[in-house]
């Protein structure tokens, strides 16, 4: 009657190969910034705190009054912008990574416990999570800044205290799916207790999701931190923080545009790189997360 031929596997394999190719650019950008942050004191051309009021608002090197001693120009206190951006990388990346690690550890723990036990434990934990999710991060940070005073620590706390809820929700959802699978029942039949099931079975199977979430969230946290610093509720001056630096250049955006521009560009590059990396990780590790 009819003969059916299945052609050689051509097109589908290519599509997969594309997503398999390492996101070299993103990784490159991230690696560069990480290196810069680590080696900041060594590679920074000048002291980021040194003020030189006679050199205030000097333009970048390719413009008329620029010079190589301040390649990207200076800010309103005559501090070299490049050095401040380099040191700012430390602050922003540290804030981003630290906050996300703390939030994800705590949030994942909550999600695992809620998903595993179910019932009242789950209901209670999820009510707390929902309440937390609805609280605006910036507001909390501002409150903290006003009451306790702005500092690096407060920024991390303020963000982490709200951010964990996102992880808890997502991980709990995953755990609920995993709990339906037989191998969890098998572990319990073998005699495993809650701790063993959670750490040896549930957690490894949620790692993919966690890694993707963490990567995607680092960019978000950097922006939040920058926003807080911009609003004056984040890292206090004179510590170079990209958000704060943008704030400082707010009034001279038309004349000394570089003061706000370059820190902004730095934020853009880092956040974009983390987001692209996160997308790639999600596509390779866990296609189910596509709607995130």
């Amino acid at each position: 009657m009819s003969v059916i031929a299945v052609p050689e596997i051509g097109a589908p394999v290519e599509a997969r190969a594309q997503s398999r190719r390492l996101p070299v650019i993103s990784l490159g950008i991230i690696a560069t910034f990480v290196l810069v942050a680590i080696l900041a004191p060594l590679i920074s051309p000048a002291d980021p705190y040194e003020q030189a009021l006679r050199l205030r608002h000097r333009p970048p090197v390719w413009e008329e009054r620029g010079s190589w001693s301040y390649p990207l120009g200076t800010d309103r206190l005559g501090r070299d912008l490049l050095s401040r951006i380099i040191h700012g990388a430390r602050v922003s990346l540290a804030a981003g990574v630290l906050t996300v690690l703390v939030a994800s550890a705590f949030g994942a723990a909550v999600g695992l416990v809620a998903g595993y036990y179910g019932g009242r434990v789950d209901a209670t934990l999820m009510r707390v999570t929902d309440a937390t999710l609805s609280f605006p991060v910036i507001l909390l940070a501002l409150i903290l800044a006003v009451t306790v005073g702005p500092s690096f620590g407060n920024v991390v706390i303020a963000i982490a205290v709200i951010l964990w809820a996102r992880y808890a929700r997502v991980i709990r959802g995953q755990v609920l799916t995993l709990m339906q699978l037989d191998f969890i029942a098998q572990a319990r039949i073998a005699g495993a207790g809650a701790w063993r099931v959670i750490t040896r079975h549930l957690l490894p199977n949620t790692l993919n999701t966690l890694v993707v979430l963490v990567t995607l969230q680092i960019g978000y946290v950097i922006i939040v931190e920058a926003s807080l610093s911009f609003l004056g509720a984040g890292i206090p001056p004179p510590t170079p923080a990209w958000g704060g630096m943008i704030a400082e250049g707010r009034d001279v955006v038309t004349s000394a545009w570089w003061v706000s521009f370059f820190p902004g560009l730095a934020i853009l590059l880092v956040v974009l790189a983390f987001n692209l990396l996160g997308d790639w990780l999600r596509d390779t590790l866990d296609p189910r997360l596509r709607q995130l």
Partner: protein
């Protein structure tokens, strides 16, 4: 592969996963998913007309009217957000131009013919409110709306409970006697084939390896695969120590061996089998097979 089917005759299409039975059904109605697969040759004749030469528009008119399909999972055959009545009216309007009250009463009539109690009320129900057996009956009702000349049933009872399965198979046979359509019944359950089919085609790795009347095939199977399959099925009462298992694994269709696809697992394999794929030969009248054991000595 080739087979022919007469009016009110049922052909059982038997095979395991990856044997190609579902693909065969899809290719009869030209619903083969592109670009992954294409029909590359052959002829499909329904009442004398070659379906492979028809345009897509003509095919659309044939599908649903002259050729109907019942699939395994009734929940995905029915749209969960529309009521049964709305879903049944769609083909009635499309194929028979019935609208309004005429469509509703025809739909109720069809539900009645598949023995659904209180059909008029059921029209307002949604798929999730019905049991699995009921849903398959609704799908059946939509299938006989044509009325079709050919009904393709792809594992229609696999997801149903045993007693419901028996009801449903009885219903299909009654409908077939009434409307005189031919039926292709795809299943992996040889017990069902024994009870409901007139002829059976056994598929392996995309080819029909044996084709013939049910009784002959079951009592004197020609192909070693059929023989092994029949021997490996547990039977009531005769509690044997061991079943005759088939060694090895079903083949990977992307990497078929040269020669006969069953050679790696065949208990009667010869050198020739590994070298050349056997042609279709007649083991007896109306009973064909693809096996070097039955081919005339070359």
């Amino acid at each position: 592969m080739s087979f022919a089917l007469g009016e009110a005759e049922t052909l059982g299409l038997v095979g395991e996963s990856g044997s190609g039975k579902s693909m065969t059904c899809l290719s009869v109605v030209r619903l083969v998913p592109r670009p992954a697969a294409r029909i590359v040759g052959g002829v499909v004749r329904l009442d004398g007309e070659d379906l492979l030469t028809k345009s897509e528009r003509e095919m659309q008119r044939i599908r649903g009217r002259k050729v109907a399909m019942i699939l395994q999972d009734p929940m995905s055959s029915l749209n969960p957000v529309f009521s049964i009545g709305m879903q049944m009216r769609e083909p009635l309007t499309m194929y028979h131009g019935l609208r309004g009250a005429a469509a509703v009463s025809r739909a109720a009539e069809l539900l009645g013919s598949v023995r659904i109690p209180s059909p008029a009320t059921r029209l307002r129900a949604f798929p999730h409110q019905l049991s699995g057996g009921m849903r398959q009956r609704v799908v059946g009702a939509m299938a006989i709306a044509g009325p079709p000349r050919l009904l393709i049933a792809d594992e229609p009872t696999t997801s149903l409970d045993l007693t419901i399965q028996a009801q449903y198979l009885g219903l299909l046979k009654d409908l077939q006697a009434q409307h005189r359509f031919a039926m292709i019944f795809v299943t992996h359950n040889l017990g069902i084939v024994a009870r409901t089919c007139d002829r059976v085609a056994v598929m392996y790795a995309g080819r029909i390896v044996e084709l013939g009347p049910v009784r002959r095939l079951f009592t004197t199977p020609a192909h070693p695969y059929t023989r092994a399959l029949l021997a490996s099925i547990p039977r009531f009462g005769a509690r044997r120590e061991t079943l005759t298992a088939i060694a090895g694994q079903p083949p990977d269709l992307a990497r078929l061996p040269a020669g006969c696809a069953f050679a790696p697992r065949c208990p009667d394999v010869m050198d020739r089998c590994r070298a050349e794929a056997p042609p279709e030969t007649m083991a007896a009248a109306g009973h064909s097979t693809r096996c070097w054991l039955h081919a005339p000595a070359a």
